[in-house]
Each structure stands twice: as C-alpha cells, then as structure tokens.
C-alpha cells in the first residue's frame, strides 16, 4: 500500500511540476478558445490572399523566365528578415499601425517564398514532350494550363501550401508583439509574468496545432495526388 501511495505521490508531484500547464489550459479554457479562433482567422485571411496572389505570381514567372530571378531574389531577401522585424516595420508604416492589417501583410510576404517557388517548380516539372503532346492534340494554351500543367504540378503546389500554412501558423505567434490576441500571447505574457505554466501551455498548444495541421494536410496531399503521379514519384 505504501508503495502505491508513493507512486501516486510521485505522479502528482510530476504533474504539478511539469504538467501544470494542463491545469492552466483547463482553467483558461475560454481564453484558449478565443486565442485559437483569432489565430486561425488570421492564418485563414493570410492564406486566402496568399493563394490568389502567389499562385498567380508563380504561374506568371513560370511563363516569363526573366521575372523568375527577380521574384526569387525578393523572396530570398524576405527570407533573411526576421519575422519580428517584418511585423515591426509594418506597424511603423503610417496607414497601417498596430493591428491585424500589419500582421496579415507581413505574413503574406512570408508566404511568398514557399508558395511561389513551389508553383514555379511544379509547372516546370511538367516535361516538354507532355506539353508538346497536348499541343499536338490541339489543346489551347488555356487547356494545357488547366488540364495538364496545373494538375501535374498540383502535388508540388499543394506541398507548398502545406509548408506555408504550417509556417504561417508558427510565425503568427510572433504577431502577439504587435497586438494580435492569439496563441502567441500565452508565451508573450508568460515570459513577462515568469509563469511557466502559461509559457508551456502556449508553446504546447501552437506546436500541437502546427504538427496536426502538417499531418492533416499531408494526408490530404496523398489523397489528391493522381495515382499516376504518385506511383511515378515512388518509383523515382
């Protein structure tokens, strides 16, 4: 009996010491929901505009090679700017200031590199004979784009979307420092108040969400890839 109770004692100590964040999450459940909702609405907004903007840009530069280098140059520069700086720079622009617009714009810029690069790569991965066959059968440039190039590039484009969603979800946490009330806020305030539970709760929540998103999108990626392409990838 003594043995059992000492195990229970140890367990409860362990819980207090390391799993206190679970209590925190349960206690602040409503706040968790609010922050999560805010987090996702920001990510969704960003993805909505990113998909429209960056897929178009990706298609454009795959057609006009000269633009490609410029686009990748800009993308590389954006890539070395720390997220906190980009958020900071946007809030100092007079029209924008603190708030969601700044956060969203910064994140849309971050989405450029993975999105544009994958659209470009995807379109370029369609080999010449396949396009030639399409033309030879009498497909118009539009039909070739929508029936050959985009479907064949789609797995690569989708992989880019997946990376972007996960990345944006992660970086969005940093937007708490420019006033976003999202999951980053637990980490932000947790550090300020030196509350271990709060920090760990924030870190665990965003990490779990990111990993889950990546996993779910990965499953979808498998589903939507044409078996014809999937097997080809496996073989190579």
């Amino acid at each position: 009996m003594g043995f059992l109770s000492s195990i229970l004692h140890w367990l409860s100590n362990f819980y207090d010491e390391y799993l206190g964040f679970i209590n925190f999450i349960i206690r602040r459940w409503e706040q968790v929901l609010e922050y999560t909702a805010n987090h996702f609405s920001l990510v969704l907004t960003v993805m909505f505009f990113s998909l429209i903007l960056w897929i178009s840009v990706g298609l454009l530069i795959s057609r006009y090679e000269k633009l490609a280098n410029t686009a990748f140059g800009i993308g590389n520069i954006l890539f070395v700017i720390p997220s906190i700086s980009l958020f900071g720079i946007f809030i100092t622009i007079p029209m924008l200031g603190l708030g969601r617009t700044s956060a969203a714009l910064a994140l849309i810029l971050y989405a450029m590199m993975p999105m544009v690069r994958n659209v470009y790569r995807g379109i370029k991965s369609v080999e010449w004979p396949i396009i030639e066959a399409g033309r030879g059968m009498g497909m118009s440039p539009r039909q070739i784009l929508f029936q050959i190039q985009i479907p064949m590039a789609w797995p690569i484009i989708f992989a880019g979307i997946r990376v972007t969603v996960v990345m944006i979800t992660g970086i969005a946490t940093v937007a708490t420092f420019i006033g976003e009330r999202n999951l980053g806020r637990f980490i932000h305030h947790g550090i300020a108040r030196e509350s271990a539970d709060m920090i760990i709760a924030g870190a665990v929540l965003v990490s779990v969400i990111a990993i889950l998103l990546d996993y779910i999108l990965g499953k979808i990626e498998d589903k939507i890839t044409s078996p014809g392409l999937r097997k080809e990838q496996e073989q190579s």
């Binding site: 720390p82 979800t169 946490t173 940093v174 965003v206």
Partner: protein
C-alpha cells in the same frame, strides 16, 4: 511616427555594434554546436546498421521543423531561467534540424553506382565514407548549414525575449517605443550577419570541394 535619418544612423553606428556581436554569438555558437552534433549523428544514421531507421528519423526531424520558433525559444525558459544560456540552448536545437536533414538527404543521394564502384576498387566502409560519400554530399550538407544560419539568425532575434540579448533587443525596443529607425537598423544588421555568414560558408564549401569537382 517619422523616420529621421540622423537617428537611424545613430542607431546603426552607436547602438547596434555591441548587440551585433552578441547576435553573432547567438548564431555562430548554436550553428557550430548543432553541426558537431547533427553531422555525425546523421552520418551514423545512414550506416548500414541503422539505415532502416533513417526514414523514421527523417519524419521526426520534419515534424520538429514544424514547431514554431517562438515556442522553442520560450519553452526552455521555465527550466533554464533568463539569460544567454537558455537562448543558446534553444537556438542550438533549432539549428540542428536543417543540418541533420540535409546531411541525411545528401548521403542518401550518393548514387548507388558510385558506391558500388568504390566498393569495387576495394575501399573499406570507412574509406568510402571519407573519400566518396562525404565529399559528394558536401554541397547538400553545406546548403543545410546555410539554411540553418539564416533561420537561426532570424530566430535569434527572439532570443532577446528570454534575456539572450542580441539585435532582437534593438528591434523590440523599436517596437515598444515606436521607433522605426531601431527596427530597420536591427533588421539590416541581422540581414548583414546572415548574408556575410552565408558567403563565408560558400567560401569554406569551395575550399573543401576537391579541385576536379569545382566548376
């Protein structure tokens, strides 16, 4: 809020240098330690005895990469407290993944025919590793180190949150006090550090490349 050139130059010249030095440490130390850990581990993982685990480890690394940088920086703070060390520790973990991933990918990418040929001329496992596999995979490994440098340099800006100092301190001051010149100056220095380190690695890579493989 307006941008004054004078204050910007002062931010860049007077305020930044000591922070820049700390920032450089926050990048270099984690990347070097991460390389010293990740490279041998990745090499080991591609040896015949462990090769069946590589895919699983790769999945694990990929998962690790999805964890938001802010979470990694923050999560050690409750255990290690404020200061440079927790920042360095977290950044090292963060720097590990790209290097490990690229080393694995590079070694796995060495064509089977080349390895067969090496075995054919009587190289031992060790000789093959040192003279064929590592040299051939070096470009991919170095690309991983570069990614690691850029990511770490950006993430290190968050190190200031847990008392690690560095250029992040300048940027956060800029945000807290609405001082655009501090944010821009901090960003430029971080960018410069990333680019200079990138060039240095390119140079190292070039020097390490055997003469006949240079283009």
């Amino acid at each position: 809020m307006d941008f004054e050139m004078e204050r910007f130059i002062s931010a860049l010249i007077d305020r930044s240098p000591p922070h820049a030095l700390v920032h450089l440490q926050l990048v270099l130390i984690p990347v070097i330690i991460a390389f010293l850990i990740a490279f041998p581990v990745a090499v080991l993982l591609t040896r015949r005895r462990f090769v069946k685990y590589t895919d699983r480890v790769m999945t694990f690394f990929n998962m690790g990469q999805t964890i938001p940088p802010l979470a990694i920086i923050a999560v050690f703070f409750p255990f290690l407290g404020l200061g440079r060390e927790p920042a360095l520790f977290a950044l090292t973990i963060y720097a590990l993944l790209p290097i490990a991933r690229n080393t694995l990918a590079g070694l796995k990418g060495v064509p089977q025919e080349v390895k067969e040929a090496a075995r054919g001329v009587g190289m031992s496992e060790w000789e093959m590793l040192m003279r064929v596999e590592i040299p051939l995979s070096m470009p991919v490994v170095m690309a991983g180190v570069k990614i690691s440098v850029v990511l770490t340099s950006g993430t290190a800006a968050l190190g200031a949150l847990v008392g690690g100092g560095g250029m992040g301190a300048v940027i956060f001051a800029g945000i807290d006090f609405f001082r655009p010149e501090l944010i821009v100056a901090g960003t430029l220095v971080i960018g410069a550090i990333a680019i200079i380190l990138d060039r240095i690695i390119t140079l190292i890579d070039y020097m390490l490349t055997p003469p006949h493989m240079k283009m």
